[in-house]
């Protein structure tokens, strides 16, 4: 068997081969197409090379962690308050609520919020506190339900899992928001966690949480929704911090290593931005730099 590293290098080889082969040899079909409209090599090459560079660095970070290098993750305040929030809800005899907003299976935010659900569900089950999970997208229902159930099972508290606490509210985001607001007003959760992909429902839910007097922690990568969460929640995990949560929760060195890889990519991006800004000022290079930037932006 190839193993994960073998698969990665095989893919990397295929990717590089594809890119190189694509330009060294032009088969008839491609040549014909090229006659019709000249192939824009820059548009093709730039995102793929950037992608390969990113995944290589992230994998390198994980590899270094596997070899024994240790990377520290600074504490994320919102994350540290989760247990306290659930404990407070238990003391008050009120449930907790976890919501992924309108996250669908195509959103990485959904997968990034699963470790958080796992942690909250574990703490809730340990404290015998009810955890309410309103769901907007039908495709995510099973994933959320299973994660909740597995978290309860993992600490031997399967009795704490109530399948009817994971509720699907159909009809799209506005109706989901309305139904969730009603659900919150009825059940009056004392701890609310909003993690995932959010749109306009961010403020509707978090303001309702304020109305019922809940301690609220939110995290999303949707930058337009962050101000609403900041206005209404006690703790907010902003932008990319949200994606670092799983590494912080699990303490798995490989995940910390991938964060190190991400940081390396960011350093390269920062250097590239500075270099590109200088190069863009040179009249002959300006248009090419601008085109590369536009391609990456797409």
């Amino acid at each position: 068997m190839l193993g994960k590293r073998g698969i990665f290098f095989a893919l990397l080889f295929l990717a590089v081969a594809g890119v190189v082969f694509g330009f060294c040899e032009e088969p008839e079909a491609v040549a014909e197409a090229a006659e019709a409209a000249p192939f824009d090599w820059l548009t093709y090459l730039v995102p793929r090379v950037f992608f390969i560079m990113c995944v290589s660095l992230i994998t390198l970070g994980m590899h270094l962690a596997k070899k024994g290098y240790r990377f520290n993750i600074r504490p994320i305040p919102g994350l540290e308050q989760m247990e306290e929030a659930v404990g407070r809800a238990t003391e008050m005899g009120r449930p907790s609520l976890f919501c992924t907003g309108v996250s669908d299976t195509a959103h990485p935010e959904l997968y990034a919020s699963m470790p958080i659900l796992n942690k909250i569900a574990t703490v809730s089950a340990r404290y015998r506190n009810r955890l309410l999970i309103p769901v907007c997208m039908e495709r995510t229902l099973t994933l959320l339900q299973t994660t909740y159930e597995e978290a309860c099972k993992s600490i031997g508290e399967l009795r704490a899992f109530n399948p009817t606490d994971v509720r699907f509210f159909p009809g799209g985001q506005v109706y989901f928001a309305a139904a969730s607001m009603g659900y919150m007003l009825k059940e009056r959760p004392a701890a609310c966690f909003y993690f995932g992909y959010y749109e306009l429902e961010s403020l509707l839910l978090s303001e309702t949480g304020q109305v019922v007097g809940a301690m609220q922690i939110a995290g999303t990568s949707q930058l337009f929704q962050i101000p609403f969460f900041i206005a209404a929640c006690d703790y907010v995990i902003i932008g990319e911090e949200f994606f670092a949560v799983s590494a912080s929760i699990s303490g798995d060195p490989k995940l910390s290593g991938s964060l190190y890889g991400q940081d390396m990519v960011k350093v390269i991006v920062i250097v590239s931005v500075v270099v590109a800004a200088v190069l863009a000022s040179i009249p002959t290079l300006g248009p090419i730099v601008l085109k590369i930037a536009q391609t990456l932006q797409k």
Partner: protein, 238 residues
């Protein structure tokens, strides 16, 4: 075994989509040498129906969840059982209007009463607008709370908000119109508001976006390689 199967169900379709994106437009993608079978064709013709099937199954499961919750509420006469009854009545009514009525009234004369249109115009849209109206109220309420001056940060936020709000209003232009032809033209409120919003805010916004995109890629890559095993963890993994 369960863990490996879950990982494979993520890895193999992911591999196909990744290969399609990497090799699109190159000879490796397929085409003449593969008898016209390209990766794009495989993805569009074979994967898309599978996704539709998965989506439909998921909707069935989700509807079962809705019925289960409300039937249990009705049977046990839990608090708010009346709402569950309304859910069922609404479901049957909308189903009847949209599916049964819609099916039998396909060849309706033009201008005749349309129950589906009636439902959409007089029930669905007003409900939608009502929720959005609540949003407007909440924005005002949140803004009031956010702009309470309690600290130095509060003063900065309030000042910036005032400049931006007045700057994008005709009042801002009116108040600082005298600065237009002087060397302090950049202190005009519309100019300051534009600088704060587009230059300062825009830069920070882009910086955050870059971080988010790289982090999204890292999460996707970890899930695809099976390193982020929160999705496949089960009894077997414990």
């Amino acid at each position: 075994m369960k863990k490996k199967l879950i990982w494979l169900s993520i890895f193999l379709p992911g591999l196909l989509y990744l290969a399609k994106w990497l090799f699109e437009g190159t000879p490796i993608e397929g085409g003449a040498w593969s008898g016209g079978l390209t990766l794009t064709k495989i993805v569009n013709e074979f994967c898309a129906p599978v996704l539709i099937l998965v989506g439909a199954t998921a909707y069935g499961i989700a509807l079962a969840n809705v019925f289960r919750v409300h039937i249990m509420t009705l049977m046990n006469r839990k608090k708010g059982w009346q709402y569950s009854l309304i859910v069922f009545v609404s479901f049957v009514t909308v189903f009847a209007i949209c599916v049964i009525y819609g099916w039998f009234s396909k060849e309706r004369p033009e201008g005749a009463f349309d129950a589906v249109e009636f439902y959409r115009t007089y029930i669905y849209t007003p409900l939608l607008v009502t929720v959005l109206a609540i949003l407007g109220f909440y924005i005002t309420y949140a803004a009031y709370r956010a702009f309470k001056i309690k600290s130095l940060e509060g003063i900065v936020m309030m000042s910036v908000a005032l400049i931006v709000m007045i700057g994008y209003d005709p009042l801002g232009n009116y108040l600082t119109r005298y600065l237009g032809n002087t060397r302090f033209f950049y202190l005009q409120l519309p100019e300051l508001a534009r600088f704060l919003r587009e230059d300062m805010n825009g830069t920070v916004f882009r910086a955050l976006q870059i971080g988010v995109y790289i982090a999204s890629l890292a999460v996707s890559w970890r899930i695809w390689l099976g390193i982020e095993d929160h999705l496949s963890e089960g009894e077997e993994a414990k």
